[in-house]
């Protein structure tokens, strides 16, 4: 019987189990994950799970019965240590050797650590898994002073939850604007304003130089100043988990390199999907994506490739973020130099920024504007050409812009 082993029990790993069975794979299936939990959703961790609005049980992507019915062995709390590509074995942290015919690396990513003086003090938190949130939540008490290190998605989502819970929130960002890596300048300015109105303080161009405290975090040093704080949340990005692939000699370049079907790695028996991959996107550029959409879609494509039905990967990436009552939805990938078209008015807390590249819709960033997001996504997929004037004219329904 053919054996498929999946390393990584996250969004991608769980999707691969479902897709492999749906595509007719009837061999032995094993899912290995180093966390002690069955695959769960990470997006609510910095939102509803952190705020306490969503209990842990609701995070799980599939019930236990799903894995049972899919005849998938779940090996949880166990890490993969090495791949022997000649013997086709994976060595696990419990000493076991797991034979495979095909291997899927869905190893995901981990938080980038802040390596500065004092970085090991208690009271400094990161956010990636259930355990991180469980550790931090008891410290989110009214009146506590929270330093957010890094003004990206995670930092600002946590900041929004913390403000609602009555904490004092100060964001330290090394770059000159909020979410600089993820959104365009008009969005950065809008989100900065919304957070300031909610009482968040910002320090831009201000990397944190050191954490200070005796026995626990007491202060953050940044921009030559010392700020008294009770706790810190560090959200300065993630790094792909490529070490297993690298040690096995697979091609890696800021991610495990996969082919245009997303796909096969440089070993025909080994596939990879999700945050850990480097792939050529629909715009022809090699990229690494950090999002649920890519984790799901690459897993579907990898499953197809593994059962001998490869399909070119042409999906439009999409992302979302919830902060206060603002729903941000993004489709496509923006590039520097895109022509930006504002549709609607940020003052109304409902608008969209379209990115045109040579007149073609390349990306859309929508705030509380679902029609713009959905139509935008469709226009991107179609490579539609639109007139910037019509796009900016809210008297024309977005459905009728093209």
């Amino acid at each position: 019987m053919e054996r498929i082993v999946i390393i990584g029990a996250g969004q991608s790993g769980a999707q691969a189990v479902a897709s492999l069975r749906a595509e007719g794979f009837d061999g032995a299936l094993t899912l290995v994950g180093d966390e002690p939990f069955a695959p769960y959703q990470r997006p609510p961790l910095s939102k509803a799970y952190l705020s306490g609005a969503m209990e842990r049980e609701r995070l799980f992507l599939k019930p236990e019965a799903f894995y049972r019915e899919a005849h998938c062995d779940l090996l949880l709390g166990i890490a993969a240590k090495a791949i022997d590509r000649v013997r086709k074995h994976v060595r696990l942290s419990d000493g076991r050797e797991l034979p495979y015919d095909k291997l899927l690396l869905a190893t995901g990513s981990r938080v980038r650590r802040c390596v500065i003086p004092g970085c090991d003090l208690p009271g400094i938190f990161y956010l990636r898994g259930i355990a991180d949130v469980d550790a931090m939540r008891p410290h989110l008490v009214t009146g506590a002073r929270l330093a957010v290190v890094g003004g990206g998605y995670i930092g600002l989502e946590v900041g929004a939850v913390a403000r609602k819970l009555g904490l004092e929130v100060t964001v330290f960002e090394a770059l000159d604007r909020a979410m600089a890596r993820a959104v365009s300048r008009p969005l950065s300015e809008f989100y900065e304003r919304m957070h300031r109105e909610a009482g968040v303080r910002f320090h831009f161009n201000t990397p944190v130089a050191a954490f200070e405290g005796t026995g626990k975090l007491e202060a953050v040093c940044a921009g030559g100043e010392r700020y008294d704080v009770d706790l810190a949340l560090v959200g300065i990005g993630i790094v792909p988990n490529v070490e297993l692939a690298q040690q096995a000699g697979l091609a890696c370049n800021d991610g495990i390199v996969v082919d245009q079907h997303c796909g096969c790695t440089s070993d025909a028996a080994i596939f990879a999907a999700g945050d850990c991959t480097q792939h050529v996107g629909r715009d022809g550029h090699s990229t690494r994506l950090e999002c649920v959409q890519n984790a799901i879609d690459q897993a579907k494509h990898a499953a197809l490739a593994m059962v001998g039905k490869p399909m070119p990967y042409r999906e439009v990436p999409w992302f979302w973020s919830d902060q206060y009552d603002l729903k941000l939805q993004i489709a496509g990938l923006a590039w520097p130099g895109d022509e930006l078209v504002m549709r609607g008015n940020p003052e109304a807390r409902k608008f969209a920024v379209f990115h045109l590249r040579d007149g073609v819709v390349a990306a859309v960033e929508a705030v509380n504007a679902a029609p713009e997001y959905m139509i935008g996504r469709k226009l991107i997929a179609e490579g539609a050409r639109v007139s910037p004037e019509r796009l900016a004219d809210t008297a024309i329904h977005i459905k009728n812009v093209v």
Partner: protein, 106 residues
């Protein structure tokens, strides 16, 4: 826990008990109801949890939000009783709710 009945495209009913406060979609996923994929996990971003609400139950549900309305525009086989099950929150009033799953989701 309110009992909700999901009827698949073949007419077969699947009963599920869903905790109050969860979405109907979460109840379906948790009970392995075929045809409710809910790729996005309830973010109202994928329209893969489309259901038809039994007409008798429609008046008991809060109306569609703008977001849901828009997402449904992109669903296949749209009907007047179409809803996204991730947007229906389970309340004690929904004991016995009946929804049908579109053929396109199988």
């Amino acid at each position: 826990m309110p009992k909700i009945t999901f009827i698949d495209h073949s007419g077969k009913g699947h009963d599920a008990e869903v905790p109050i406060g969860w979405s109907v979609m979460e109840g379906a996923v948790k009970n392995l109801i075929p045809g409710i994929d809910a790729d996005c996990g309830g973010a109202c971003a994928c329209a893969t949890c489309h259901v038809y609400v039994d007409p008798a139950w429609l008046p008991k549900l809060p109306p569609r939000s703008d977001m849901e309305e828009t997402m449904l525009d992109f669903a296949q086989e749209l009907q007047p009783n179409s809803r996204l099950s991730c947007q229906i929150k389970v309340t004690p009033d929904l004991e016995g709710l009946v929804v049908r799953i579109p053929k396109s989701q199988h």
